[in-house]
């Protein structure tokens, strides 16, 4: 367990350093960004340089960045004129909500589809495979627009924007969760079908177990491990999808903050978001490792 913690810390340090270096190497000068469209005189430049401590050597700036990070100080946004910690604190809630809802939707849909269609007739499989393929290959932006046009603009069932109440969460969660459901559904069904052909399945059937009980009690466990790994990975990548979904649906959240920060070269915010996603990844993969032990008795031994 201590070893795991050490690895996790190393990953976080690497993420912090990598994002720092990447932004250092990115074209353009931080001072230019801070000057922006405004007037540009040597006096203004000097003022800005001292204000942000940009006159120190890069390595010193990096060390002071790490030092402040250790104290939980994420710095101040160049663009938004506020503390990064404060920005993230107000924006993380809606994103966590959206990500969990989307992951939940994806996993639930995938589970239902896989259980219903595994080993069934050819036409049913064909239809679901096609649907899965569409949900994976259509860009989330388009899925979002189509969902909005149908369920919000035309039918009026769900509001277009805002983070108030669960009704406003339905469409964004679907837009973000459908591609997850598509991929997971295929993996899960494949796993189920393989499991149902294994000798233990034949034995179980010989014991007189119904097909449904067989799937629920035995086969699903087998199929779950690869699907779970994939689901964990997906949850990590959902932040990327959240960028588009949040902007489209006018939702607050880290995604749109990250996008604004990247295009505006708002280094403190970008680095904080990268760090936060690293934390999310590490947490999820640790939780998954624990979950494997519960699902698969062989790993416990």
């Amino acid at each position: 367990m201590i070893k795991r913690l050490g690895t996790a810390l190393a990953v976080l340090w690497a993420a912090a350093t990598a994002s720092y270096v990447a932004l250092l190497l990115a074209p353009g000068d931080t001072i230019d960004i801070l000057v922006g469209d405004g007037p540009d005189t040597p006096e203004i430049r000097t003022k800005i340089i001292t204000e942000w401590g940009l006159d120190r050597p890069e390595f010193v700036q990096y060390l002071s960045y790490l030092w402040r990070l250790l104290h939980g100080d994420l710095g101040r946004s160049y663009q938004l004129q506020r503390g990064v910690g404060e920005i993230l604190a107000t924006q993380i809630g809606p994103t966590v909500q959206l990500t969990l809802a989307a992951a939940g939707t994806g996993v639930a849909l995938a589970g239902i589809i896989a259980i219903v269609t595994a080993g069934r007739g050819r036409w049913l499989r064909g239809v679901t495979s096609a649907a899965e393929l569409v949900s994976v290959s259509v860009p989330p932006f388009l899925i979002g627009i189509v969902l909005l046009s149908v369920f919000s603009f035309t039918l009026g069932w769900f509001p277009v924007s805002g983070a108030q109440g669960p009704r406003a969460l339905v469409l964004p969660a679907l837009a973000l969760g459908l591609p997850v459901a598509g991929v997971l559904g295929q993996v899960l069904r494949g796993g189920l079908e393989r499991a149902l052909e294994q000798p233990f399945a034949v034995t179980a059937r010989a014991r007189g177990l119904t097909e449904r009980a067989l799937v629920a009690r035995h086969a699903l466990r087998h199929a779950l491990i690869p699907a779970l790994t994939l689901a964990g990975w997906f949850t990590g990548t959902l932040l990327g999808g959240a960028v588009i979904t949040e902007v489209l649906f006018g939702r607050p959240g880290l995604g749109q903050v990250a996008m604004q920060a990247v295009t505006g070269r708002d280094m403190p915010v970008v680095m904080a978001v990268v760090l936060l996603s690293a934390v999310a990844y590490v947490t999820i993969s640790t939780l998954l490792d624990l979950a494997y032990r519960v699902i698969d008795p062989r790993i416990r031994g």
Partner: protein, 531 residues
């Protein structure tokens, strides 16, 4: 809730405020494209959120469409003969949202705030470069002294930067740079909720009775509450409007104008923006645009009307000068002066020595292709300007064999290309309420965004003279000279179109309009529902 409203009204009436029964409880939701990066008017930097500033704050003066100034929180003003002293008489009946009184000391505190180092270096260096000091001459009279004459100072007093903030809040606000609920103004609405990425919400200021001259009514605002939702995607804004989820939107792309006009329940308004037209600036420092013939040839090779029609479906207004057509300084005599003469374009290029053609049909001189690069920063590309660039690219290739390369890159890369002189074309428009302020940033040799790298002492002296006089006719004359020099005599700029703003709304919403100073949507003060 229904039972609550009469109680609230009673409470308001009991406070001895303006009778609120003349303005019943009505609410409105307005979807806007852009989020504010700050709610502090003194640090305001986005024309797209100007409509929010004057809900919460009032400026000292207000600017009319013809460029003249009208009273607002200052009832009158006097400029001394040497143009160095401004004496402002202030309203004596104005209170900030935090209950403190607005007076001469407040105006002085607001002006002095800009002197705090690093507070707003841009405004300190440009709009307030001539500012020396402010003095309280009487409780409601303030005397401002300048170091040198500055015709743009009144424009500053009418800008969002002159939005008056409670001096108490300037000292005690939790986050002064960002602003927010505790940054009290005097405006018709009181900010009471801001959710980044989602919405901003205001309620009516029941005591409000000091609108600018030119407002459509007096007393408190008609709406009791207004919510602005941030919906950056145009398609989503329009869907939300046509399905009745919001009552007003701003920012209607040309492709959706027909859709709005077809809908019998919706109304569309547009207004040209103040400031400069969207123009291509030629980098005159190196080849090929160091040769005026090539610059003129580029302009002649483009049929601007056809390009605008295909890109904006006929909704764009063609520009003929660097100054936008809405500005009182616009020189209309420049109209139809250039453009669209393909034969002339080719003759000019032949004369400039670009005679040969390569296998792809591009012109060549001394083995070098006639290539020009436009570098644009992605966050600033709006209004389908990327598509516009592609249309221009196709025309100059087909009509004159010019290879226009359009590079839309991140802000850092764009800045780098500009600093290192690795560009030939630069596209830009500015929304300054006084076009002269924009020209001061673009044309003088040492100007901050002199992307043409062009220098003409005559132009610099005209601009300086125009900045120093309050004589509107004299300024018009000087700016006409400047425009002629830039557009005709030296052809350093290729004006394309005048940016505009659109408001689309349910027909039941009345009183929507545009800020006469900027051409951007006005505040919600005069907006009402019903007839």
């Amino acid at each position: 809730m229904k039972r609550l409203i009469p109680v609230l009204l009673l409470a308001v009436a009991a406070c001895g405020a303006q009778p609120a029964d003349s303005a019943p409880a009505t609410t409105l939701t307005w979807a806007i494209e852009t989020q504010p990066i700050t709610l502090n008017p003194q640090l305001w930097a986005q024309n797209k959120v100007r409509l929010l500033v004057f809900n919460q704050f009032d400026a000292l003066l207000s600017k009319a469409e013809d460029g003249s100034f009208r009273p607002w929180l200052a009832t009158s003003w006097k400029v001394s003969d040497d143009k160095l002293t401004y004496t402002l008489d202030l309203r004596d009946d104005v209170t900030f949202h935090d209950g403190t009184k607005f007076d001469a000391a407040a105006v002085k505190a607001n002006l002095d705030q800009f002197l705090v180092p690093g507070y707003n270096p841009a405004v300190a260096a440009i709009q307030l470069k001539a500012f020396d000091r402010a003095e309280v001459a009487a409780p409601y009279q303030v005397k401002i002294t300048l170091k040198e004459a500055d015709a743009l100072f009144l424009d500053f007093l009418a800008s969002p930067y002159a939005g008056q903030v409670s001096p108490k809040a300037l000292k005690s606000a939790k986050d002064l740079r960002f602003g927010g609920l505790d940054l009290a103004g005097t405006g018709p609405f009181i900010l009471d909720r801001y959710v980044q990425g989602q919405e901003i919400h205001y309620r009516r200021n029941p005591a409000y009775n000091w609108p600018p001259a030119g407002a459509a009514h007096r007393g408190p605002a008609h709406l009791s509450e207004i919510t602005y939702r941030f919906l950056p995607e145009a398609a989503v804004r329009i869907g939300a409007l046509s399905s009745g989820q919001v009552q007003v939107i701003e920012g209607v792309p040309a492709t959706d104008v027909a859709l709005i006009k077809k809908d019998p329940n919706l109304a569309l308004q547009t207004s040209l923006n103040s400031g400069t037209a969207y123009s291509y600036y030629f980098n005159t420092e190196h080849a090929p645009f160091d040769d005026q013939r090539v610059r003129e040839a580029f302009r002649e090779a483009v049929n601007v009307d056809a390009v605008l029609k295909s890109v904006y479906q006929g909704t764009a207004t063609r520009a003929w000068s660097i100054v936008g057509a809405k500005s009182p300084f616009y020189d209309a005599t420049l109209e139809n002066g250039y453009g669209g003469d393909v034969a002339k374009a080719n003759a000019l290029l032949d004369a400039a020595g670009w005679k040969q053609r390569d296998a792809e049909g591009y012109r060549v001189k001394a083995g070098k292709r006639l290539t020009v690069r436009e570098v644009a920063s992605a966050p600033f590309v709006r209004d389908r300007r990327d598509i516009l660039a592609q249309a221009v690219q196709a025309q100059v290739k087909q009509n004159a064999g010019i290879d226009l390369q359009v590079k839309i890159v991140d802000q850092g890369s764009a800045q780098k290309a500009l600093d290192e002189n690795e560009y030939e074309l630069f596209g830009n428009s500015r929304g300054d309420s006084d076009a002269g302020a924009a020209l001061n940033l673009i044309l003088p040799e040492k100007a901050a965004i002199n992307r043409t790298r062009f220098a003409d002492p005559k132009v610099d002296s005209w601009l300086a003279a125009a900045s120093a006089t309050h004589d509107q006719a004299e300024r018009e004359k000087l700016y006409a000279r400047v425009q002629r020099a830039a557009v005709v005599d030296n052809a350093i700029v290729f004006p394309l179109y005048v940016p505009a703003d659109q408001i689309a709304a349910q027909k039941s919403v009345q009183g929507l309009g545009f800020d006469p100073a900027s051409g951007t949507p006005a505040s919600a003060y005069d907006v009402r529902i019903g007839t």
